[in-house]
Amino acid sequence: MRISLRNALLGSVFGCALAMSCAWAPTARAADPIKIGVIAETSAISGVGIPNGAKMAAEEINKAGGINGQMIEIVDYDDHNSAVDAVRAFQRAAQQDKVAAVIASYVSEVVLALEPWAGRLKMPMITPGAASNDITKRVHDDYDHLKYVFHGYLASTQIADVVCEASKSLMVKDLHMKTAVVMSEDAAWTIPLDEEYLKCLAAGGLKVLDHIRLSPDTTDFTPIFNKIEGEKPDVIVTGISHVGVQPTVQWQQQQVPMPMYGVSSQATNSTFWKDTNGAADGVIFNMASAPDVAVTPKTIPFAKNYQAKYGNLPGYAAYTSYDDVYMWADAIRKAGSTDPDKIVEAMEQTDYVGTIGRIAFLPKTDTFAHGMRIGEGYITGLMVQWQKGNPVTVWPANVATGKMTFPSFTKLPE
């Protein structure tokens, strides 16, 4: 038998790979830092904000002495926006890297896939950006198993409520609008969103003429806009996240005469103006915090520091992920250990003023168990409009930094 050099080479490469993987076996030491896992899609701007925001928070906490002397270490994983990768990352975080808590993803699909694992592996987890109602509904339905999951962002229904609330003053009162068409992408998080839209828009004085759901793979929005235009609504109420740049650009190129208003996750990115070549002008979108609005005293400093450190403004999930680290740190401090049950118990007591408002979690009896409390005094949400390259907050009135303006092709009701 003769094995050529190339075989030997090939074999040794493979051997090394296996050997390396074996060398990962964990070695625990006493002065280990407390680890927090961050799972996100790091190739997307809004995705990379999650580890970035978390790292900023960790640095600040460590500078101030850490958690009872123990430093925080952020371990980040790229999930390529895939549920399998995320589950693997989650398992690695829990079993290999022995993190104390996880901050995971802004995609509902991914978070829902992780949720049972949080229960199985008893790993406290919070999502900084996913919106599906199911996340908290499952906690409510199966609290004993899934109590480890917290929802660090508004649920779809809550978001819809914020959008409707704002529409009462912005659309109905200021612009005298009477009708709307709901346009949202076919995805998990938009099902409750749309359901709530249909209810609350009408209640707020906007008659919903049509409800269009589009495939998240859509690239050509011309037929959709034409169809909407044919129905002559005063405004398009959006529920989009997977798509964003493309509909906005086509809306502008086709000069669709009604404003786009509602939820548009990609619009929260600071690069949105550049990605759309300025087509974003006039688009109004929902956000928890904006860089120019002092939602709380922490908001503006965070946005400033973030921009100084990473070169662009934080996306929506960067704010929440920054807050999440602080909340985990507080909970671990209070719990006095990294025991998951104790952390959860402490986390449930959270009353923390972060960058997006005052955060408290709803009790297990609420349908949004472990979701955030919204409304006066807690999280209110903002409506922000892209104006000449800058996001300008237009609602609520007490924190607004400007008035709505629209591109010339927009035809507003008399």
Partner: protein
């Protein structure tokens, strides 16, 4: 009104499909290669055009030029680093070259896609269009950019037609697609012909990519879909038949547009897939293909 709208919108998107598929089918016709990195190359063209025009600040024209140049470079690499070595490799049996070329170009496409995502994120980008504004065509408000997209697509296809049918070089390309051995015997170097074809392909894919970027916007995640759509169009039209591909592009474009308008935008691609299956079963050589 609706009919006219479908007619106009379908035309623009179809001409873009046609341009995208033309290069793909040209490569298959002349050198028998199904290039699965096609979509990724189009994405590279669009993203580079976006970057040079916007971030780099060179303006839309230079941007478009840079996008096409990038696509050309990718096409050359695809040919010289992946396709040619596989075709010349003595250790790959002839009957398995095809699967190796497919796998190789597929991997290369993934590499391009990941590189774009790494350098520019996978956020969708839109190339600054060369023309802004709208015109009314019989009461249908049509963006100038949409018209420009259709015009430029057809100009590119027309130029290709002239090149192939009216020039000496083009004739040799056509001849190579029919009988490469015959061409060798007439003193032509096939390797030069292949390089030429890949160059033309690079330019076509580049233009298609830039136009797509300006018309609809492109994200690195679209690479796979773009390849699949070119592949379907080319099979529908008949492998290697350029006129078949053009026709198929219109069938696909209009079928999709009509579905989106008349049925629902969320099942836009389904009728096309069903048609494709039916055609492949009933007439595997495609609409205009010869066996």
């Amino acid at each position: 009104m609706l009919a006219l709208q479908i007619l106009i919108d379908g035309f623009a998107i179809s001409s873009l499909y046609a341009l995208g598929a033309t290069g793909f089918t040209l490569i298959f016709g002349v050198s028998g290669v199904l290039n699965l990195s096609h979509g990724a190359i189009m994405v590279v063209a669009a993203v580079i055009a976006w970057w040079v025009a916007g971030t780099f600040g060179a303006g839309p024209y230079l941007g478009a030029l840079a996008g096409v140049a990038a696509s050309l470079a990718c096409a050359f690499v695809t040919y010289s680093v992946i396709v040619r070595p596989i075709q010349n490799s003595p250790s790959i049996p002839r009957e398995e070259k095809e699967i190796f070329v497919l796998t190789g170009t597929l991997l290369w496409g993934i590499m391009l896609q990941e590189a774009v995502a790494y350098l520019f994120t996978n956020n969708p980008k839109t190339v600054r269009p060369l023309a802004q504004g709208v015109v009314m065509i019989l009461g249908v408000r049509t963006p100038l950019n949409e018209i420009l997209t259709a015009v430029l697509s057809w100009t590119a296809i027309g130029l290709l037609y002239l090149l192939v049918n009216r020039t000496r070089t083009g004739k040799s390309l056509l001849a190579a697609s029919m009988n490469p051995r015959g061409l060798t015997l007439l003193g032509f170097e096939l390797s030069n012909i292949y390089i030429l074809v890949w160059a033309i392909y690079g330019v076509l894919a580049g233009i298609a990519g830039v136009l797509l970027g300006a018309f609809l916007g492109v994200s690195s995640d679209n690479a796979g879909t773009l390849t699949a759509s070119a592949f379907s169009i080319v099979v529908l039209g008949g492998l290697g038949s350029v006129s078949g591909s053009l026709m198929a592009a219109y069938v696909v474009g209009y079928l999709e547009t009509m579905t989106a308008y008349l049925v629902s935008p969320s099942i836009r691609t389904v009728p096309v897939l069903l048609l494709l299956v039916a055609v492949v079963y009933v007439r595997p050589q495609g609409l205009l293909g010869r066996r």
